[in-house]
């Protein structure tokens, strides 16, 4: 056995260290579970961190009712597969007012269902620490995010109030009203996550792999028509194309890429020659430059 660990072994060990440290310091931890590939990797790491015991916290899905059908199928199988509790929260205000991306726009839809919904869910569960699957390479403003990120009472992120993080030492102490978001995948890149998924045989939602799916073209973005809530133009018929998704979210807000990649190997291959970043498929990012930073200050992940 060689003493030098590979970069994936080092990333895995670091994430396990972070997860154990966070759980040891928190009173009521929870893991945000978004059904995506990063969540799958994070959940896998949490299981490894506490093996042979189960992770000592529940999973939380902040639902918008607008996810892909296949995501819900995948999510609903998780409690049985892992033996962990899965809580699902939907913002009642959004249900009552039928908030949706078509009538209210992507920004308001995301703000009310996800940002507000997350705040509600954390408050209801009285969680003082929430794990998230965000990575620093996802977006420029995330490059400075801490691994242990302190939130104020209003769940807001204040770039100036963040604590310096040295060595392997994380400060998990909280003043009254404060809570923590912890990001064990901070140092992973998109490629690392895929290689890890392949190496460890982690299950992912099949939407990440190419298959013929019904799509329409909206302003150059391919949107999958996943159910009959999608307002088609008069006479419009969705086209069957071989597509896959690089990120998963609400189906009307998630752009598909045309692809023949039907295995994880092929995804990695595609990724190495890709010419656009994974966030391009997210309709929400294109509002304006610096938009992620503002959303994060408001409490979005």
């Amino acid at each position: 056995m060689t003493d030098n660990l590979t970069h994936l072994q080092r990333l895995e060990a670091e994430s396990i260290h972070i997860i154990r440290e966070a759980v040891a310091e928190a009173e009521r931890p929870v893991m945000l579970y978004s059904i995506g590939k990063d969540s799958s990797a994070l959940l896998h790491l949490a299981q490894k961190a506490f093996y042979p015991a189960k992770p000592p916290f529940p999973l939380l899905h902040v639902d918008t009712t607008w996810k892909f059908k296949e995501m819900y199928t995948f999510r609903d199988a998780i409690p049985e597969k892992t033996g962990m509790e899965l809580r699902v929260h939907r913002n009642q205000y959004c249900i009552d007012n039928n908030i949706n991306p078509f009538d209210h726009g992507s920004a308001m839809h995301t703000d009310l269902w996800k940002t507000e919904g997350l705040k509600q869910a954390l408050q209801i569960g009285k969680f003082d620490l929430a794990f998230g699957g965000a990575r620093r390479d996802e977006e420029k403003s995330r490059a400075k995010e801490r691994i242990f990120s302190v939130r104020s009472t209003a769940q807001r992120w204040d770039p100036k109030a963040q604590r310096p993080e040295l060595w392997k030492l994380y400060n998990g102490k909280l003043a009254p009203g404060q809570s923590l978001r912890v990001f064990p995948l901070s140092n992973w890149t998109e490629l690392d996550v895929w290689q890890y998924i392949k190496l460890e045989g982690i299950e992912i939602v099949p939407l990440y792999l190419a298959a013929p799916r019904p799509v329409v073209n909206r302003d150059g973005v391919l949107i999958m028509v996943d159910d009959d809530r999608f307002p088609l133009e008069p006479g419009e018929v969705p086209e069957m194309l071989s597509v896959r998704f690089r990120t998963l979210g609400c189906y009307p807000l998630t752009g598909a890429v045309q692809s023949e990649a039907m295995s994880i190997d092929e995804i990695v291959e595609e990724l190495l020659s890709a010419s656009t970043s994974e966030r391009q498929g997210r309709v929400i990012d294109h509002d304006s430059s610096g938009s992620m930073e503002r959303k994060r200050q408001d409490g979005y992940f």
């Binding site: 003493d3 690392d192 391009q280 930073e293």
Partner: protein
């Protein structure tokens, strides 16, 4: 995109698709805004990664809006993140970047070079294997170059690359390069940097960055990226004695009890003898459990769970160590500290220290010296302020197990946490343990506090009255003492004003002096209480941490915190000594309630609301409380 970049990418694309067996190099970049650091990192990212089309479009748009390179792409914008700082044109925090080549994955900690951001550089350096120190070839070795180098040395980074940037502006002159190299080498040896590599580059034009430049034929060394890809990174900590701080006790079932943590040094095998520190009990390792199956050997860098042959009392915060080479154990240490908070260090006040997985209460002695990081001179100081670096003695509440930082980062590096705000206020590196606490033995005498109380005919303790100036502390203290005296109780009053005329007349009113003021009074009160007296302390004592410190000096039940509660407006309207008027006029700085805060007691034994009762009634309530506590 130029030819060399294309060639580089082609090379990369034909390379193996399986990147899962690469290794990892973490490095820090230090340099000022003007050294072209962001340009250098931006260019490294651009040339090694496939910078995506949408990112590139954004970059072109941003270059026109914010860029400093006219119509050309401003690579610095690839790395400048937050919009606030983008508009200011400077980087204000530590940012982490990721790129990889066929051989290696790189994590870059990008830190700014301003003096006021020492803490960011220290943070970035704490996890780095290697440091890139940038300087401007036209300016040579500057004060800030020395500063960055000193911090790199302080944090124990062994490999340093001096990147002589903007080399195009010196016409690629060998003489300039040699002269910079000579002057830096002298300095590096002076501060103890052993391994320095020198590379002339132009980040702006990409010379010697990815490909070796044709403009510097005399140089003959690798390009920066070649160097980073090939510099040897061995797992040096694997050769140290075994160390694993316990993070978590894993009880998955009644018959499984394992101890989870990250191995930070050395290696461990089933059958090895380990010692649980600081207690020093020994045990034999049975299994090294992971989700991928039991390991025949665990090595530094791995996160594992150990089980033992026998039942063992181990908890979070303990360190498992090679029995033949245990850690040092002490309750007093000397450490280098980097202060990272706007609030200065208060010697004597309790803070928390997190070392490995253990969090303990500590207090600082005034610094032995601080280091001027521009001149490296040692200067006298009474405290540490934001971004200052100094050496302190630290008293630890209970013994800790440690290695000197120079031996092992993860068992010798710690953070300091404020007990009220919980902000991380400092980073520390242990130099050595002090044995003084071991040498002053506590003399045991036969006459005890209990026997003295028997003679006195009553119990003893400290009645600590805290509250704003003008709350009525002195009035109540006076009445209380008269009442106790008439009952035959032996008493003494320690009054804030009176003590300042004698014992504490050398102290002023800064936060640091106030803490020392309280510490001395608390010590005197402890001695008097031990002698058998009921001591009444009448002190504004505005900070909870100091009141807690006073409490910690006394046995359980002997400290009675009395909050003399009054709203600021009422105290100010009473103003018996005319002090509020002076403070409002700006003649009394740091006056509690006006421009210095008063922290309301969290859990006082007694709260006296002086707006609802007169002093006599307050004394009655207080006397009842003392009786029920068994003090009188």
């Amino acid at each position: 995109m130029d030819e060399s970049t294309l060639a580089y990418r082609r090379n990369r694309e034909t390379g193996t698709n399986d990147h899962s067996d690469k290794d990892l190099l973490r490095f820090i970049t230090c340099g000022s805004v003007d050294d072209g650091k962001s340009t250098l990192i931006g260019r490294l990212l651009y040339e090694t990664q496939l910078v995506y089309e949408d990112t590139l479009e954004q970059l072109e748009a941003d270059s026109k809006r914010f860029g400093t390179q006219g119509d050309s792409i401003d690579f610095a914008l690839l790395v400048d993140g937050l919009s606030a700082e983008r508009e200011q044109g400077i980087t204000i925090d530590v940012a982490y970047r990721y790129f990889s080549t066929k051989r290696r994955m790189f994590i870059v900690a990008d830190t700014p070079g301003h003096e006021q951001y020492t803490r960011n550089m220290v943070t970035g350096a704490s996890t780095a294997d290697l440091a890139l120190i940038l300087l401007d070839a036209t300016k040579g070795v500057l004060t800030q170059t020395r500063r960055h180098s000193y911090i790199v040395r302080l944090l124990g980074i062994k490999r340093v690359v001096l990147v002589v940037n903007k080399f195009d502006l010196t016409d690629y002159s060998e003489e300039v390069f040699e002269s910079i190299k000579d002057s830096y080498q002298t300095f590096a040896e002076e501060i103890g940097l052993e391994e320095v590599h020198y590379i002339p580059v132009s980040a702006l034009l990409g010379e010697n960055l990815v490909q070796r430049s044709e403009r510097t034929p005399w140089y003959g060394g690798p390009s920066l990226l070649e160097y980073l890809e090939t510099v040897e990174v061995t797992n040096e900590s694997a050769d140290l004695p075994f160390r694993m701080p316990v993070q978590w006790v894993n009880r998955s079932s009644s018959d499984f009890r394992g101890f989870s943590g990250s191995i930070v040094a050395g290696r461990v095998r089933p059958g090895d003898r380990v010692s649980v520190q600081p207690s020093g009990r020994g045990a034999t390792v049975k299994r090294i459990v992971t989700a991928d199956g039991d390991l025949p050997e665990g090595v530094s860098g791995q996160a594992v769970t150990l089980t033992f042959d026998e039942e063992l009392d181990v908890s979070r915060g303990d360190v498992l160590a090679a029995e033949s080479e245990p850690l040092l154990v002490t309750d007093r240490i000397q450490a280098q500290l980097v202060w990272m908070s706007e609030n200065e260090m208060l010697p004597g006040r309790p803070y928390l220290m997190k070392l490995g997985s253990k969090t303990v209460t500590i207090s600082f002695e005034p610094p032995r010296y601080v280091t001027n990081i521009n001149t490296l001179e040692h200067l006298a100081a009474r405290t540490l302020t934001l971004n200052s670096i100094g050496v302190c003695h630290i008293a630890v509440e209970s013994p800790i197990a440690f290695d000197p930082y120079s031996v092992c980062r993860d068992t010798g590096g710690f953070i300091v946490i404020d007990r009220l705000t919980f902000e991380t206020v400092a980073a520390g590196m242990i130099e050595f343990g002090l044995r003084r606490a071991d040498n002053i033995h506590w003399q045991q005498f036969e006459v005890s506090n209990a026997s003295r109380s028997q003679l006195m005919g009553h119990g003893s303790g400290v009645v600590w009255m805290t509250g704003l100036s003008g709350a009525g502390k002195s009035t109540i203290a006076n009445l209380l003492e008269r009442k106790l005296y008439s009952q035959g109780v032996h008493t003494y009053i320690l009054d804030g004003d009176n003590v300042r005329h004698g014992l504490n007349k050398d102290l002023g009113f800064t936060d640091a002096d106030r803490v020392e003021n309280i510490r001395r009074v608390a010590e005197v009160a402890r001695l008097m209480s031990d002698a058998g007296l009921v001591v009444v302390v009448s002190f504004i004592s505005p900070f909870q941490a100091e009141r807690n410190m006073a409490r910690s000096l006394l046995p359980e039940g002997k400290f009675v915190e009395v909050y003399v509660d009054v709203p600021l407006e009422v105290a100010e309207s009473r103003d018996p000594k005319g002090l509020y008027r002076k403070a409002r006029a700006g003649q009394l700085p740091h006056f509690t309630g006006i421009d210095s805060r008063y922290e309301v007691p969290e859990n006082p034994e007694v709260r006296l609301d002086t707006t609802k009762m007169d002093p006599a009634a307050a004394v009655e309530q207080l006397a009842e409380a003392l009786a029920s506590l068994g003090i009188i």
